[in-house]
Symmetry: C2
Subunit: 332 residues, 2 copies
């Protein structure tokens, strides 16, 4: 009988947590016992797994020494508190929260840098934030064909980047507007429906927000040739799901579009869209690939490469990377 | 008694046309007779002006020799057909359609290059497309403080960039979705509600669309130091009104943010937003200024300047520039 692994999903009731549980079942990850964990109001909820309803328990009281691996899809402060406890108990961690800096966790994305290790030594792994992961998947395919000099990305994130509450906020505000009722922002401090929000969260003293710093830092870690050469603007679009990235890459030499298209076409995690452009609704939602379209040089500049990248941020951008990393770890 | 001018607004029933008529009245432009013109189904409609309802007449039969100036806010093919006829009849033209290339029309924006001429010689003027005009207003304020090296802009346009039909399409699709009815795209070929569309119109053989070429060309004309150094991606966000531009400027030297903020603060056509970020709903809609926020350097790069520019594309981005140009022409 094949080996199985007892694992936990911390933050199981969130959008990413649910997607993690779904993917673990769909991909037949060799699980012995699956523990669903959370904190606060989410304790006591149930989630379906392999035909049964599993009850969500309190992460605070959980004995991590009983399992080999835990996914953490929670707020950064919960990860900071609970992940070290899991590691100390001998349990490896795959953190999705972005709580741990470069020196503290091993940043890994299977499409870029599959980890050499396994689960024999308790290790703290981190996966990139969704827009960084989506970008990294594309950059990994292009690396052999484009000599990266500089990258500018505007990432239009969706309500789901704010979690389930973000999705509910957009739905409620939109409904209020269409029913000619006054909009009452609750989660956000202003109208989100039919409004582009140019900032995601609080800005620091230099004007950047944490998701932008995380994106720039993670892309620089995965692609050292781009360290210090990435510009990121993260904004919120009034859509429910999906990331859309407008990317301008500069190369030190003219970029051959044929080679770029062939490389994107050959990459297993990427769907190249030619003679059209991909969108979340109709293409990316629920899919396990990143969609790339609008492959073009600059208008006056053969050394520039422009791309439009579309992805299901919850499933492909976050959960699938974490599960793929776990699959890679148990192969060894 | 002060001199008055007989003028025409061609395309008076469109969103920009209506805004032109409103602004001409609000700003007390010295009009003698105002002729509202259009083609097709719009002939025969009426628009209010100075307390009267003016009937819209057919542009095809209009005698342009009776007037001094005509605004053209119509499809490019109508401008190409009718504007030369107006000029030949001795009437100056301010074209908003983008139909005329650099050599054919005098591209003018008052904030950047106020025209030296007047209405004594029939002249074909063009104003930039809304995102180029908004960008140009900001660049004009920064020119003395930032040595432009390269510019990357992702312009998130709104339904109104497709005219009144675009606004109606988004409203109808959103309503269908919220009422759990199937979405039936009519104007567009796919779902627009709650979906970011990465391309505005048909792409040419090199993958660019006309609004991107127009933006890059117009910014390069107004700022020759940026000719061949602008990268533009225009996408459609599911919002009704307003442009939002995510801009990354590279400078040949470190950019001093204090000087940038002072310059933006001092510019009459710009509202600088500090310690927050501007949005269309709540800030820019119906306003006569471009809003600028999120003024910041690059995360690792003092030679980079990032900006978030928000504007009412119909009123400020298009109509006000055209009326401002006309005001400048009659001053002489």
């Amino acid at each position: 009988m094949a080996e199985t692994f007892d694992i936990a999903v911390v933050g199981a009731t969130g959008l990413q947590g649910e997607a993690l549980v779904e993917l673990l079942e769909e991909r037949e990850f060799p699980i012995g016992d699956l523990h669903l964990l959370a904190s606060g109001d989410n304790i006591g909820k149930t989630l379906p797994f392999r035909g049964r309803n599993l009850r969500v328990r309190d992460v605070a009281g959980f004995d991590f020494s009983t399992i080999r691996l835990a996914f953490f899809s929670v707020a950064a402060d919960v990860s900071l508190e609970q992940a070290p406890r899991a590691l100390a108990a001998g349990c490896s961690v795959i953190d999705l929260s972005g709580a741990f800096a470069a020196g503290q966790a091993t940043l890994a994305q299977v499409a870029v840098n599959p980890p050499a290790g396994d689960l024999s030594v308790p290790t703290l792994f981190a996966v990139p934030c969704a827009p960084a992961a989506e970008l990294a998947e594309v950059l990994a395919a292009l690396r052999a064909h484009v000599s990266f000099e500089r990258l500018v990305v505007t990432a239009c994130l969706s309500a789901s980047a704010l979690g389930r509450e973000g999705v509910q906020e957009l739905a409620r505000q939109t409904s209020e507007l269409l029913n000619a009722r006054p909009v009452e922002p609750r989660l956000l401090d202003r109208q989100f429906a039919f409004n582009m929000l140019g900032q995601v969260g609080e800005a620091d003293g230099e004007g950047h927000v944490s998701i932008e710093r995380r994106l720039v830092c993670e892309v620089g870690q995965l692609f050292p040739e781009l360290a210090g050469r990435v510009s990121a603007s993260c904004v919120l679009a009034p859509v429910f799901f999906g990331d859309t990235l407008s990317v301008t890459l500069r190369s030190t030499a003219p970029v051959a579009l044929d080679a770029v298209r062939s490389a994107l076409d050959a990459a297993s995690g990427i769907e190249l869209v030619e003679d059209d452009y991909p969108t979340v609704i109709g293409d990316a939602l629920g899919q396990d690939v990143v969609y790339v379209g609008r492959v073009r040089n600059g208008i006056d500049d053969p050394c520039e490469l422009n791309l439009w990248i579309v992805s299901d941020n919850v499933r492909k951008g976050a959960a699938l990377n974490a599960v793929g990393l776990a699959e890679s770890l148990i192969k060894h």
